[in-house]
């Protein structure tokens, strides 16, 4: 295990963490404001990837694909909100979980029916092709760095929106005590539509950005969804700051654990069992970390509500 490998995997982990944050941010805000648990949020990420890949192939340009996929993802999110989700706000979490689970079944199958089960390819844009030299003899793809930069930029933008604007103040107030905000004359439904649409678009954006490096297939939203849940549980539900820190943490632990643990274990045991135990342990690591953090702080690192 060399320093170069560690550097590359660390960067990969941060980049995955940034993608996770884009998905988790919408999830945590929607839950914070409306007390609504939306399993179908991962589907939004998948739709983003599919729409981006198809539109990029159709227009022949990654950038046009990206620009067109964002409003398309927004429209999908708002249609779902209008059709299904808004009938669930007054219901218990169990109903919300099940109904949004039904939405996942439908959309995963719809994607399979339209695009087929085989993974879709999306080419890296020419502008971001090639690699940069991190160390002598060690290249790192420019596109992956672009994901990292774009994700951090969006995170910064989100921070300004939530912490420094009037709408952000309303969203934070809504997350702390929604009925009080409604009683003060704020249209909480309208505010929620806004948060929801924005969250859907962020997840869609993450999907488009991920499409050229990860495989675009019908189950891709589910994996990200569950990790996003881990992120917002660790970070404290409703907290964007918590989601950001937890997302980077989860991204790095997940990536480093899966790639480095087999090598680490080989120092203390034979190669074949080390590979197996390492793979098993590596995939468990994120959840073990979550269990440890929750054992100490049951409401996450940055709980919003006392």
């Amino acid at each position: 295990m060399s320093l170069g490998l560690l550097l590359v995997q660390g960067l990969n982990g941060l980049q995955f963490g940034v993608l996770l944050f884009l998905v988790a941010a919408g999830l945590t805000l929607v839950f914070g404001v409306m007390d609504f648990i939306n399993l179908a949020h991962g589907v939004q990420y998948m739709l983003g990837a599919y729409l981006g890949a198809s539109l990029a192939a159709w227009t022949g340009s990654f950038w046009l694909g990206l620009v067109l996929a964002l409003p398309a993802a927004l429209v999908c999110g708002l249609v779902l909100e209008w059709l299904v989700f808004r009938h669930l706000y007054e219901r218990d979490h169990l109903s919300q979980v099940l109904a949004t689970f039904g939405v996942i079944l439908f959309l995963n199958e719809a994607v399979r029916a339209i695009w087929g089960s085989a993974p879709l390819q999306m080419p890296v844009p020419t502008l971001l092709e090639g690699g940069v030299q991190l160390m002598p003899g060690l290249q790192y793809p420019v596109y992956r760095i672009a994901i990292l930069v774009a994700g951090l930029a969006v995170a910064g933008l989100l921070w300004v929106l939530v912490e420094r604007t009037r709408i952000g103040a309303l969203v934070r107030a809504g997350a702390t005590h929604a009925p009080m905000v409604a009683a003060l004359g704020v249209d909480i439904r309208g505010l929620f539509m806004l948060v929801f649409g924005f969250g859907a678009m962020l997840a869609g954006f993450a999907g488009v950005m991920a499409a050229p490096v990860l495989s675009v297939d019908p189950g891709m939203g589910d994996t990200v969804l569950i990790l996003a849940f881990v992120v917002i549980t660790i970070g404290g539900i409703g907290s964007v700051r918590g989601a950001f820190i937890a997302a980077l943490l989860v991204g790095v632990i997940e990536t480093l654990g899966r790639s480095l643990l087999p090598d680490l274990l080989r120092l203390v045991m034979a190669a074949s069992p080390a590979r197996q135990a390492g793979a098993a342990l590596g995939s468990m690591l994120v959840y073990i970390a979550m269990a440890l953090i929750l054992a100490v702080r049951p409401r996450g690192l940055f709980p919003v509500r006392g």
């Binding site: 099940l98 996942i104 079944l105 199958e109 589910d222 197996q276 098993a280 468990m284 269990a291």
Partner: protein, 302 residues
Amino acid sequence: MRAALVVLAGLAAAPFLGFGEGYSLTLLARAMILAMAAVSLWLLVGGAGLVSLGHAAMLGVGAYALVVLDDARITDAVVVVPVAMGAAAFFALVTGAVAIRTSGVHFIMITLAFGQMAFFTASSLAAYGGDDGYTLYGRMTVLGHRWLEDRLVFHYLCLGLLALALLGTQMVLGSRFGRVLRAARENALRVEAVGFSPYPYRLVAYAAAGAVAGLAGVLLANATEFVAPSYLAWQRSGDLLFMVILGGLGSLQGAVLGAVGFVLLEEWLGHLTEHWRLIFGPLLVLSVLFLKGGLVGVLRRG
């Protein structure tokens, strides 16, 4: 319990009413096994108010315990069943110890995450087939006899165990233990005020439900003679939760009605079209939105 008794009687008579061939019996066995898992989940959701979205992991731990023993050529039920149920209960105890400290939506997410952890662990067990799954050498023996190879025996075994699970859960709910559990679901604060701590009660219920689900996993593995990580997929946890709600949270028999209804619906839609989930998903949404009280509720009103 009337509706559940009718369903159980129907299942008992099914082999003599023209459902005796292999395919129908396989389908019915699947329905009964999933009903057993749904009954154990009902104890958590309906009984204790703990909405678990990781219940399939218990099923899977039971099934994989069987796989490990099968690989070592230990196939007698006398050993396999207690070990598998114990393994599932232990997994439930350890994960439950963390999960039950939280409540509400945190609990849903944590059980989902632990379920996913078990899923990835099963996928990485290369010695037991990894992603591809593991084909058993054969069904379990009972004290050296190969009784389970017989379709009818297996059918009635599943039925008997389902009835036992139903009866046992009913008795637990009626006991002092069950009353504390149900009281804590309604108002944990008041339960604490009269001097009970809900935590150990919930944890024991969680482990017990895990053990029953583990037994269901053993039966499912025997029914198909094949175990794969898909046993633990989070979609199956969602399916189980849907069975419980479809039947109705108001009474335990809902779990049986829901599971049988679910399996039959899935089968029927599967015959209609390859993309049956396009119909199934919206049906699920509609049933959550409009079928309040579940099938049991419909039967009561009708």
